[in-house]
């Protein structure tokens, strides 16, 4: 019984001590909100007078007097913007206050509890109770910050400010337009968008869209860099289909070991306006990935074909690399050389 009393007494001391420190801190707070200038008072201005707004709306629709209508529309826009700004600033102020107060309470309780462990004269049990309470509290604080996205709020507010600025610029760019081009109804819709740009939902959605777009862009940049570095990915359907079309024709020609036949095919290649320049550029085609021995073998074969001393294998070699080159072009999005190659292999 005596032990329990001691624990409670200790806890009472700790609570009192923490309250005292809290009162002192609150009383000495130096952060004060600025006073609003009288001209910016929310009372007695047209923005809150329904009848004034009805008159302005009527004038804004008076197309017979365009100048008057334009002025009324611009006044309505200004009132709308002012109201939206007031709502946004109020929301931001309340949100910040709530956040700051909660964080202060969290800090205060945490520091108080950890200090209490060291300064109390109570039993070991009393220290344990406070230590357990402190652990529970720290865990709760971390969960609270995480689950209620408290630490991300500033990012969202920054997003809101940026979005609001974009919307407002778009509105102000049109205030010199005539009412038949930019009527009040359209302006009202844009003022509404300006309001939504300052809401938490819109900021979250916009943040998500921006992040997604950035990620997509960087993925595209990475893919482009891989392509430029000749890094090949999964074979596309088009590539596999073309390979299936080429295979039997190419195999039949090579299995024949018929020199006049392969010469005839090569002659068709040389006549084809698409294939001829590809053959010419084969030894220096970086996409092929030729090693020095590969390049030399190809150059020797082309020379042998050129001076009429080529054997079947020389034509085979050149046609093989031509096959690889046209497949590479197909992978890069150009299907014409592959079609021409298939046509030539078919003897047409």
């Amino acid at each position: 019984m005596l032990k329990t009393e001691k624990v409670f007494r200790t806890l009472n001391y700790v609570t009192m001590w923490m309250l005292l420190v809290g009162i002192c801190l609150l009383a000495t707070s130096t952060v004060r909100a600025q006073k609003k200038p009288p001209i910016l008072s929310d009372r007695d201005i047209s923005a809150f007078s329904k009848s004034e707004i009805q008159i302005l709306q009527r004038d804004a629709g008076d197309v017979a007097h365009p100048e008057k209508a334009k002025l009324a529309r611009n006044k309505l826009i200004a009132i709308g913007v002012e109201q939206v700004d007031a709502a946004f600033n109020d929301y931001r102020k309340k949100s910040r206050k709530r956040h700051d107060l909660l964080q202060f309470i969290f800090d205060f309780l945490e520091i108080g509890a950890s200090s209490a462990i060291n300064i109390i004269n109570g039993t070991e049990r009393a220290r344990e109770v406070i230590a357990e309470g402190l652990s529970f509290f720290q865990g709760s604080r971390a969960a609270f910050n995480r689950d209620f996205k408290f630490l991300e709020r500033q990012i969202l507010f920054d997003k809101m400010v940026a979005k609001r600025s974009q919307k407002l610029t778009a509105i102000y760019e049109k205030v010199n337009s005539e009412v038949d081009v930019y009527p009040w109804e359209q302006a009202r819709s844009e003022v509404r968008e300006y309001f939504y740009a300052g809401t938490m939902d819109e900021a979250l959605s916009s943040l998500s869209v921006d992040t997604g777009a950035e990620a997509k862009l960087s993925l595209k940049e990475l893919e482009d860099a891989k392509t430029a570095a000749n890094v090949r990915g999964k074979a596309s359907k088009e590539l596999l289909t073309a390979n299936t079309d080429i295979n039997p024709l190419f195999k039949a020609l090579m299995d024949s070991q018929d020199l006049p036949k392969i010469k005839a095919v090569y002659a068709l290649v040389k006549k084809d306006p698409l294939l001829e320049p590809i053959v010419k550029g084969l030894p220096n085609n970086q996409r092929l990935g030729l090693t020095p021995p590969g390049k030399k073998g190809l150059e020797d074969s082309l020379t042998a074909i050129g001076n009429g001393t080529a054997a079947f294998i020389d034509y085979n070699r050149v046609l093989f690399y031509l096959r690889v080159a046209v497949m590479d072009l197909l992978e890069a999005g150009d299907s014409k050389p592959v079609a021409a190659f298939i046509k030539v292999l078919g003897g047409n």
Binding site: E221, A228, A229, G233, F250, T291, I313
Partner: protein, 100 residues
């Protein structure tokens, strides 16, 4: 003698890399080796895992079908081409390559 080297994305699956090699050797080259590497793509300031595949000319008796499997000394009905360490879906794995 290696006559052609192709670079493959190390993020590809084993079957996709195998299919890609079959496609690139079709008609006159035999897959001879695969070497894993990290490629520095300076334009985007990123390093990516890749596999360098080396081919050598073979116009007769080409083993057109390939089989990439976890390391094993043999596979019935297949000829072992080589063992290698290559990137599969971004992870380095020991692989045996067979052909027929």
């Amino acid at each position: 003698m290696i006559t052609m080297i192709r670079i493959y994305d190390g993020l590809m699956s084993l079957s996709d890399t195998q299919e890609r090699c079959e496609l690139d050797q079709a008609g006159g080259q035999q897959l001879k080796e695969i070497k894993s590497a990290i490629l520095d793509l300076k334009t985007v300031n990123q390093k990516v895992e890749v596999n360098y595949a080396g081919y050598e000319e073979k116009f007769q008796g080409l083993l057109t079908q390939l089989s990439f499997d976890p390391v094993s000394p043999s596979k019935p009905g297949w000829t072992k081409l080589f063992d290698c360490s290559m990137y599969v879906e971004g992870e380095l794995k020991p692989i045996s390559v067979f052909g027929k």
